[in-house]
């Protein structure tokens, strides 16, 4: 019984639509859970700046406030270990998701970022049997997720030797930054067949290609609505085909249920995996229809979903 338990969400960034969707999902699902009396409280906390140090301080404050469990989307997989250790020592359950932490005492709901990179190249291999030149748009230098996805992409390319990465820019997971970086490098690149991305940057890349008057390559999309809408537009106009890989922001709700289960005394393995969200040519319309204008394609999880993820991992 967890009716008197209090769970906190520690979030390190709120400055993009993905994080906003994540917070909205959290609010919807946990709000219901609190109303139903499943837990006593489920408060969300966000730091003013996306920094390890601030989040570490935040976690320490949450410990002081006596939360029973802290659900973390971490700014860094290692940098919070000190604070997480303190939380565990104080008897607080720590569940990390999306940005996971490596401290052994915490639970991890991981996305296989490496795989997320690799499937993009594998998809391109099916579409472009003859291969060709690729452009890679990376995230933010020095951040774990960027490194993991890029690692997957490069592994994919080395396994599919018909592809070569001709250019690589950092788009910081933002449309306008990606647009600018791609526009700068594009003139000096040969014909680009495909663009491998990290999500949130596909639309910016498309804009840059359009502005430069180049042939539109296959741009792997993320889950922002504008990316999907652009894809739909192109699909209707020129039968443009691509795919989208991303993480559903609603994974925060899965983490919530996992924390609830741990508090309930259930035996939960420390490492859980969620599949990433894949949208194909066929599921595009359905996903687009359920995605809010300007928002992010999303999935929210229920207690049952969480239980089945746990059981799978057993």
């Amino acid at each position: 019984d967890t009716a008197d338990k209090r769970i906190a969400l520690s979030n390190n960034y709120a400055g993009n639509s993905w994080r906003q969707a994540m917070l909205t999902s959290w609010e919807t699902v946990t709000g219901q859970a609190v109303a139903d009396g499943t837990v006593a409280a489920a408060d969300a906390f966000t730091t003013a700046e996306n920094q390890v140090t601030e989040q570490a301080a935040q976690i320490q404050n949450l410990i002081l406030q006596g939360y029973d469990a802290i659900v973390i989307n971490a700014a860094s997989p290692e940098g919070l270990n000190g604070a997480v250790k303190e939380a565990c020592d104080a008897g607080v359950v720590v569940v990390s998701f999306d940005g996971i932490v490596t401290e052994p005492c915490a639970w991890r709901i991981a996305v296989d970022f490496h795989e997320m990179g690799k499937v993009q190249v594998e998809y391109l291999a099916t579409r472009l049997p003859d291969g060709g030149d690729l452009l890679e748009i990376r995230g933010l230098a020095g951040v774990f997720v960027d490194d993991a996805i890029s690692g997957g992409i490069h592994e994919g390319v080395s396994e599919n030797s018909q592809f070569a990465i001709k250019g690589s820019v950092h788009g910081n997971w933002a449309q306008d930054v990606s647009q600018k970086a791609v526009a700068g490098i594009l003139p000096s690149l040969p014909e680009i067949k495909g663009v491998v991305t990290q999500g949130g940057d596909g639309y910016g890349a498309a804009q840059a290609f359009k502005a430069a008057g180049r042939d539109m390559p296959i741009i792997v999309m993320g889950n922002r609505q504008d990316e999907l809408a652009w894809w739909k537009e192109q699909k209707d106009a020129t039968d443009y085909q691509t795919m989208s890989v991303s993480i559903a922001p609603g994974v925060s709700t899965l983490a919530f249920w996992v924390a609830q289960q741990v508090l309930d005394g259930k035996d939960v393995p420390k490492d859980l995996t969620v599949p990433f969200l894949t949208i194909t040519q066929d599921t595009l319309e359905d996903n687009l229809a359920t995605t809010q204008e300007g928002g992010v394609a999303n999935v929210e999880y229920s207690l049952e979903d969480a239980q089945s993820v746990i059981n799978e991992a057993m």
Partner: protein
């Protein structure tokens, strides 16, 4: 004063050098395309940097850190109000400008009434504006009206239309800086605000107008940037914080206050864009790229070495 002694010349020399390297690597055709892209993107830096320049010229400690938040708030609200409808274009622009005005007034109020040092006043207020933007539409990315997007991306003979307009704005601001009362007042306050006040300059009015200019230009920049990149995002202004300062100082404006120039803003904006592009084109790793970016900036500044000014 010979050309080489102009404070802005070094940003242009840097731009030229980087340009030559890019042409050397990718050929003349690619070079001109890169230049066109540089104009497109550099334009946005220039808009905010003009405002930042006037603020920095007010003297030590004056800097506007609320530019990114102002861009975000003004453009998210404007985009949502317009809701993609082209008839709402003008109201949208006016709303963006109104928000810029309010932000400028607020910043100045904090600085003047609460006597908070500008750097902290604008940093603190930027958190408030960012929160307001989040609260207002939770980070949804609303598409700009079609005509706005077309306008923001339009080109005249390969030259971005917006760049031409901002060039006109630059010339106007140049005249204001060097040949108008307001400009004279800003330069005077930046050198010695006590003396300025005793010479009959309305120091506080000058400060107010300066912070207002900065915020309104940031709002306008946000508005057109949203049009250019297909919508307003919560993080759209992030890189404009450092960039607006970098462009101003690399362009030769003195952080000690009292000296400013506008040609340097264009030189520095193009330089910053081309530098990143050049390093991207060279295909270097992120670490090396960052190191070279920094080393080249420091190098350009060190060579230009403004020794005369103490």
């Amino acid at each position: 004063m010979s050309l080489l002694q102009k404070p802005w010349i070094w940003s242009w020399i840097g731009t030229l050098a980087v340009c030559l390297v890019i042409i050397g690597i990718s050929g003349l055709g690619a070079g001109t395309q890169v230049l066109s892209a540089a104009l497109s993107f550099g334009t946005f830096f220039v808009i905010v940097a003009i405002g930042q320049m006037f603020v920095v010229t007010l003297g030590p400690g004056n800097v506007d850190l609320s530019i990114p938040a102002c861009m975000t708030l003004a453009s998210t609200v404007a985009m949502k109000v317009m809701g993609g409808s082209s008839t709402m274009l003008l109201p949208g622009l006016l709303i963006a400008i109104a928000i810029g005005t309010i932000i400028g007034l607020l910043n100045f109020g904090l600085i003047r009434l609460l006597r908070i040092p500008p750097i902290i006043a604008t940093l603190s207020s930027s958190f408030l504006f960012q929160s307001t933007a989040i609260w207002y539409n939770r980070g949804l990315r609303v598409k700009p009206p079609e005509p706005l997007a077309d306008f923001a991306t339009a080109k005249l003979a390969g030259v971005p239309l917006l760049a031409i307009l901002v060039l006109v704005l630059t010339v106007i601001m140049h005249v204001i800086l060097h040949h108008s009362l307001f400009g004279r007042a800003v330069l005077a306050v930046g050198q010695n605000s006590r003396a300025a006040s005793l010479a009959g300059i309305k120091v506080e009015r000058t400060r107010l107008l300066t912070y207002l200019t900065s915020a309104v230009l940031a709002a306008i920049c946000g508005f057109f940037l949203a049009g250019f990149s297909g919508g307003a995002a919560l993080n759209m202004g992030e890189e404009y914080l450092l960039m607006s300062i970098a462009v101003v100082v690399i362009g030769g404006t003195s952080v000690a206050g009292g000296f400013a120039n506008l040609p340097g803003l264009w030189g520095a904006s193009l330089f910053m864009f081309l530098l990143v592009t050049m390093l991207n084109t060279l295909g270097l790793s992120a670490g090396i790229r960052l190191i070279l970016t920094g080393a080249i900036i420091v190098g350009v500044i060190a060579i230009s070495g403004r020794r005369g000014r103490t």
